[in-house]
Amino acid sequence: MHASPPLPHASATKPASTTPDRATDKLEIPFEKYQLDNGLTVILHQDNRLPLVAVSVWYDVGALHERPGRSGFAHLFEHMMFQGSPHVGEDQHFKILEALGASQVNGTTSFDRTNYFETVPSNALETALWLESDRMGFLLESVTKKSLDNQIDVVKNERRQSTESRPYGLVRELIIQKLYPAPHPYHGNIIGSMKDIGSATLDDIREFFKTYYSPSNATLVLAGDIQITTATSLINKYFGPLQGRPKPTRPQPLRPTLAKAEEIIFDEPVGRLPKLSIVWPGPKAYHKDSAALDLLSHVISGTQSSRLDARVSYRDSIAQSVTAAYFETFAGGQFQIDLVVQPGRNIDEALTAVDEVIASLDSQPITQAELSRAKNAQETRMLFGLEQLGGFGGRTEQLQSYQYHFGDPGRFTWDINRYRGVTLDSLEQARRTWLSETRLIVKAIPSASSSPSPHAQATTHQAAAKKEGIR
């Protein structure tokens, strides 16, 4: 590659803080862990400062377990878990929890797992356990065709809202489809296709529940204002009698790869500015290069002076927005740069600029100061992540995630040390291994707003201008 012009910040030799941050040395999330006879894993974290308990249940099932023709099913099933279990009754879950003053009542489905959570005043813990145990043990007794049909409509609208009418939502889906070709279970991007969502039957629901919603396939975490002995006896009372079935084995699909570099022009139906996405397939979660790739994304983008921002936002004003991020899941990872192009600027000009910045990592190696900044930011982020008891993040989810990946919730300090251990050499090695020339480029070009045929665009329009050996 041709040499890139010097970046404005490359001459700034100001060192990062010389004392390494060690505020987090002694931070671990204390916990007790045990298993019931039916296989339910229980993790308890006591913190009595606020009169609140966060309740989190993870089931070891997500998009990872989907089969062709049923994309989106794990997520649709999650909706059904809120439709009411027999002893609690329909219409009651949210009403009961609201009346108790619960907050953060929700559930989510990811590529790898499904979770359900609520944070309740500590005197309402028993009710939360009653609700969670009832749907874990008895959901099928109250599932109806009518509620399934209703949730199919709701989930289709969720797809319209979050994928089809959000700017670049379909680009996001296209990238997943390219990284994970069918029949890879991630292919449906969790939400699934309209056709598959609409094909779900009550028999699918029954089979899925029996296979994956066994106590042996679930982990219950309580965090907050509990006493261990009381919590343990309540958990025994509500979850102990539930029938255990064998824990299904977790599928082990291959991580994403690209056979060759590929460039796709996408006809963007929603967003009004061109958007460039460059994606490199990455390793599975907690690979030895993961932390380095994560830090590399922060060297490349995230602050005004990071490499890419300094070029495309600060110096050249090409980008309306720019991000670099490393994402990882159980079965794969992706290193991704996204850049929305300013009006009047050209997407190819943006691609050239990104390429020059990437190439500049050879001619102007990453400095210790850049690495320290990325590490300091990561450590602060991890610390802020411990503030909440639970909900969409916080301590319950951190414990759950470590349990999911390692069978050991106590990995917080280990995790921080993973980042601290990254050196300029390991960063460089990870960069050379993963940011290769075999990458996926998507150029989303807004369609003319008067474009007549919406659904021709909504199905991935891949008039692919394929180019090989991009750099």
């Binding site: 606020l50 609208n157 309306q320 602060t380």
Partner: protein, 488 residues
């Protein structure tokens, strides 16, 4: 990157999670098990006495230059959030320069003190901290968060941004171009389009709140650096500002920091206390429709202006809203989502600011069900007289509001936002505790009376964003009033 504009621009959300926001269906089937070994599960557990409401303790002092110092000490993690909040925001935009206040805040971290923009960004990053600026309709803020042991260095950077921004020509040109690009990006999103048009529909175009905080492409284009510098002098003053510190920091430490870094700040603003003119709710004359060609859903918003924070009807209306559209189990969402399946979710909120408030109800409706869905919004409003708020509904919403309060303060950034509200709307330091007590005592007939008074279908403005060519014919046939189609 500039958090002020990240709201509009930050395109990437983690692709790994789809939120459920799930609700329960209407028909009842739930009596499968009456006897047998599991019959004991039929009964909801009794719960012991409610725990005491634990709320943060807000403490305050005022420096000799008029700067308020508002502190909440939360020492469990070695973290701190420092924020400088000033009343005003885009409500103080000159009428020909909408978006000017937002631009001023956007410029504050584009180089400050001795550092140019890149060096300033590096200085923040060296501490593992993050600094952001933001500007809303009635206040603006600069915030830095990081490790508490860096508090003095964090404060030095914060005060540089507030007191000594560079306001350099080349940074201004770059920021303006980025803001114009972000306005264009915003027009791509149905919600973005809706919120560009909503302020003038709600308050009227000449009211200080009647324009979007980020301005319009035309108004932003007109802004010169000279105008920006002049407005910066007007906008920021110690008497209209509070320094908010939350985290592992005491009132004493925070006051010393404020004295050291902001104590010599002399404002030039001569304006009196910040207030806004009240707005009357007029009967609806038309439906405003913005074309978003081929959109598979139609964004529907019903909205009306309200009284401001502290009005005697506020608590009752918050409760009425909770019953009508405020939560998962509200009437509106149960109808539109769980009964009809027209949408992924529907909701409403009542918000109150300085002398002015608003009620907004919203949903993204499946295109083919747009008119049917719009009719259900009105159905739920119109049936309030015959189907008044029930004791059960009110109990649920009251308890939900009061007892979830401690959970609202589980992050120091949330506490800083609560402190911002206390300062900007001049509330007492124990406002949240007082609110809990007041809400507990609001009577059912008061809630119903206020619901009828304010959730009045006649005054609800209607704004829709969707595919004009398919939705407009249905909408006109429905005869809900004249339709004004506006250019996006």
């Amino acid at each position: 990157m500039k958090p002020t504009y990240q709201q509009l621009t930050h395109g990437w959300l983690p692709p790994f999670i789809w939120f459920a926001l799930v609700l329960i269906g209407n028909p009842s089937v739930a009596d499968a098990v009456e006897t047998g070994p599991d019959a004991w599960r039929d009964k909801q557990p009794a719960h012991s006495a409610q725990p005491k409401l634990v709320l943060p303790t807000f403490t305050q002092t005022v420096l000799s230059n008029g700067l308020t110092v508002l502190v909440v000490e939360q020492a469990q993690l070695p973290l701190v959030v420092l924020r400088l909040v000033t009343q005003g925001g885009s409500a103080l935009d000159p009428s020909d320069h909408h978006g000017l206040s937002s631009l001023v805040y956007g410029m504050l971290d584009e180089g400050a003190g001795e550092r140019n923009a890149l060096a300033f960004s590096d200085a923040v990053a060296d501490l593992g901290a993050s600094l952001s600026t933001s500007s809303s309709i009635d206040h603006g803020a600069v915030q830095i968060s990081g490790l508490s042991r860096h508090q003095d260095a964090l404060m030095a950077l914060l005060s540089d941004a507030v007191l000594r921004p560079s306001l350099a020509e080349k940074d201004f040109i770059r920021l303006k171009s980025q803001v114009l690009a972000s306005l264009e990006a915003q027009r791509g999103s149905p919600q973005g389009l809706a919120f560009m048009h909503l302020p003038s529909i709600l308050y009227g175009p000449s009211h200080p709140l009647g324009h979007p905080a980020s301005g319009t492409p035309e108004s932003v284009q007109r802004v010169t650096l000279k105008a920006l510098k002049a407005h910066h002098q007007q906008l920021l003053s110690p008497a209209r500002s509070a320094f908010i510190a939350v985290g592992a920091i005491s009132l004493k430490e925070a006051t010393a920091l404020a004295e050291k870094h902001l104590g010599r700040w002399k404002g030039t603003s001569t304006e009196a206390a910040f207030t806004l003119p009240a707005v009357q709710a007029d009967p609806r004359k038309e439906i405003v429709f913005i074309d978003k060609p081929d959109s598979p859903q139609t964004m529907v918003i019903l909205a009306r202006p309200l009284f401001g924070r502290g009005h005697p009807d506020e608590d009752a209306l918050v409760l009425a809203n909770g019953v009508w559209g405020g939560g998962f189990a509200s009437r509106l969402n149960m109808n539109l989502r769980e009964d009809k399946g027209y949408t992924y979710g529907a909701g409403s909120r009542a918000g109150f600011r300085n002398n002015v408030g608003n009620f907004i109800a919203y949903s993204a409706l499946q295109r083919v069900h747009t008119v049917a869905g719009l009719n259900q919004f009105f159905f739920e409003l119109e049936r309030l007289p015959e189907h008044p708020v029930t004791t059960d509904e009110l109990h649920r919403v009251k308890q939900g509001l009061i007892r979830s309060l401690p959970g609202d303060f589980d992050r120091i950034s949330n506490i800083a936002s609560a402190a911002t509200q206390i300062f900007v709307y001049q509330r007492p330091l124990d406002d949240f505790a007082q609110k809990a007590v007041r809400i507990e005592t609001v009577a059912l007939d008061r809630v119903q009376e206020v619901a009828l008074k304010y959730l009045n279908p006649e005054v609800m403005k209607v704004l829709m964003v969707g595919d004009a060519k398919t939705v407009l014919p249905d909408l006109k046939r429905a005869k809900l009033g004249s339709v004004h189609v506006k250019k996006p």
